[in-house]
């Protein structure tokens, strides 16, 4: 192995057909180091590519390859290879690690920042969902008017989600000894959703099975038209105002 006489301002090697290094430039030694065999300088994952691409049959070739670096890292370079004969090749190394690495690192940073904002958004979304759930739970308080009668004023739009949230609470509360009549007050109800009414229907059926009578109060004309189209038990009773219901059932 000899130091080549004319020094190039780039890492430069002369290798034989077994990839043994037979010559090198100052820059090669400084920037990439020395080894007996050129493959020893390369990242292992680049060996196959190098062996496939760099062979005497291909007289001139440019190959992108990774060089080993201390600490398990590697650096990317273009190799410009020219075979003088079947025996020897000149290899000029153009390291491009710095430029690409900088871009790659900034991109990775941006990516992880995007991911962080994504996570924050996700957390906020979950908080919001939790708030909606809480809100749903509070949309059907179970108020005991006396020992036999309870009032459930419903609030807002009757969605499936909301009724699922309150279903359990209503049925459990009605289980209490003595409760044999429940008023569902629609005064503060907004829109009726078919899926929501289906769940309400299930709740009312459960109450019936438990021997609890159900009255629907305060249905607005528009809602009444809609309710007619929806699945509700036929034995259901309606009253126009809460006042009327209280007078009838809660005063002795």
């Amino acid at each position: 192995m000899k130091r080549v006489e004319q020094s190039l301002p780039l890492p430069f090697y002369v290798i034989d057909k077994n990839y043994n290094i037979v010559g090198y430039s100052n820059e090669a030694e400084e920037e990439l180091g020395l080894a007996n065999n050129f493959l020893q300088l390369l990242d292992e994952e680049s060996h196959e590519k190098f062996q496939k691409m760099v062979r005497p049959e291909t007289i001139k070739v440019t190959v992108e390859i990774n060089f080993k670096k201390s600490g398990g890292e590697f650096q990317l370079a273009d190799l410009h290879v020219l075979w003088d004969s079947d025996l020897h090749a000149k290899v000029l190394v153009h390291l491009k690690g710095n430029q690409l690495q900088k871009v790659t690192e900034s991109l990775a940073k941006l990516r992880s920042r995007l991911n962080e904002s994504n996570l924050q958004l996700l957390e906020e979304k979950e908080k919001l969902e939790e708030a909606v759930k809480q809100n749903n739970l509070l949309s059907a308080p179970f108020i005991e008017l006396n020992e036999e009668t309870a009032l459930i004023p419903l609030f807002g739009n009757l969605t499936e989600e909301k009724l699922f949230a309150v279903e359990d609470h209503i049925v459990r509360s009605a289980q209490k000894e003595g409760i044999d009549r429940v008023f569902f007050d629609f005064t503060a109800v907004g829109e009726l959703k078919r899926e929501g009414i289906t769940v309400l229907n299930n709740v009312i059926s459960s109450l019936f099975l438990m021997g609890v009578k159900v009255k629907i109060i305060g249905v607005k004309p528009q809602q009444a038209r809609e309710l007619k189209e929806m699945p509700l038990p036929s034995e259901l009773n309606f009253m126009s105002t809460l006042q009327e219901a209280i007078q009838k059932y809660c005063t002795n």
Binding site: E64, G72, R111
Partner: protein, 219 residues
């Protein structure tokens, strides 16, 4: 027969994100997401690796392709989260890549696979220091922790992490994935608590069968 993965790989390499998205969405009409991930996107990324081996493309091209692939998966993720309703008993998973691990496409596909099964997912990304993931883990308390590792010289790092995470007080299950799981087997790391996942199909199988054990233990 059309080679979907090669066609898609070339759209990635050409930076055609809209066309790639259209292509993927067309495939998804007739196929499940798992097919797209396991039989199209994964082979497309391997194919791109082969093109580099053959000296047909540069590392910069590969980065562009990875970026587009990332975009596609993120896009599918948003489509997905709209459709899934959040019931009470959603199991939770947190996913991250070990420190210095830059490969993240597989991890992201795993995150979407969990999502599609109705899990609550926290994807922290690749190259994460253990302290950082630990603080997130304590906050989120996932039932399952998914770790990705690709390169063999991080085996010791991986072992340390597994050791540390296995001792968290709520005893989460640890799933180990990534190329390392595929090529090294890692079977000596496995236990009741630690499961090595070979690929997304394996993950899906585990999700179908293994989840019951999580419900049983946490309820």
């Amino acid at each position: 027969m059309i080679n979907h993965h090669e066609t898609l790989a070339h759209l990635f390499l050409d930076g055609e994100e809209e066309k790639a998205l259209e292509y993927v969405e067309t495939l998804l009409i007739d196929h499940p997401q798992l097919y797209l991930f396991e039989d199209i996107l994964t082979p497309a990324m391997y194919y791109i690796g082969e093109l580099w081996e053959k000296n047909k493309i540069t590392v910069a091209d590969e980065h562009l392709a990875t970026g587009i692939c990332d975009f596609i998966i993120s896009k599918l993720e948003t489509n997905l989260s709209e459709g899934v309703n959040s019931s009470n008993k959603q199991p939770k998973v947190m996913l991250f890549g070990v420190e210095e691990e830059q490969h993240y496409i597989g991890l992201k596909m795993a995150a979407n696979t969990f999502r599609a099964e109705g899990w609550k997912v926290r994807y922290l990304g690749p190259n994460l220091r253990l302290e950082h993931s630990l603080s997130q883990l304590h906050k989120f308390k996932p039932d399952v922790i998914g770790i990705s590792a690709a390169l063999s010289y991080r085996l010791s790092t991986l072992k340390n992490i597994i050791h540390e995470l296995a001792h968290l007080d709520w005893r989460p299950k640890l799933l180990i994935g990534g190329r390392m799981a595929k090529s090294y087997g890692l079977s000596d790391l496995e236990s009741n608590q630690v499961i090595v996942i070979r690929d997304l199909k394996h993950l899906e199988e585990w999700l179908q069968e293994g989840v019951e054990s999580i419900y049983n233990e946490t309820s």
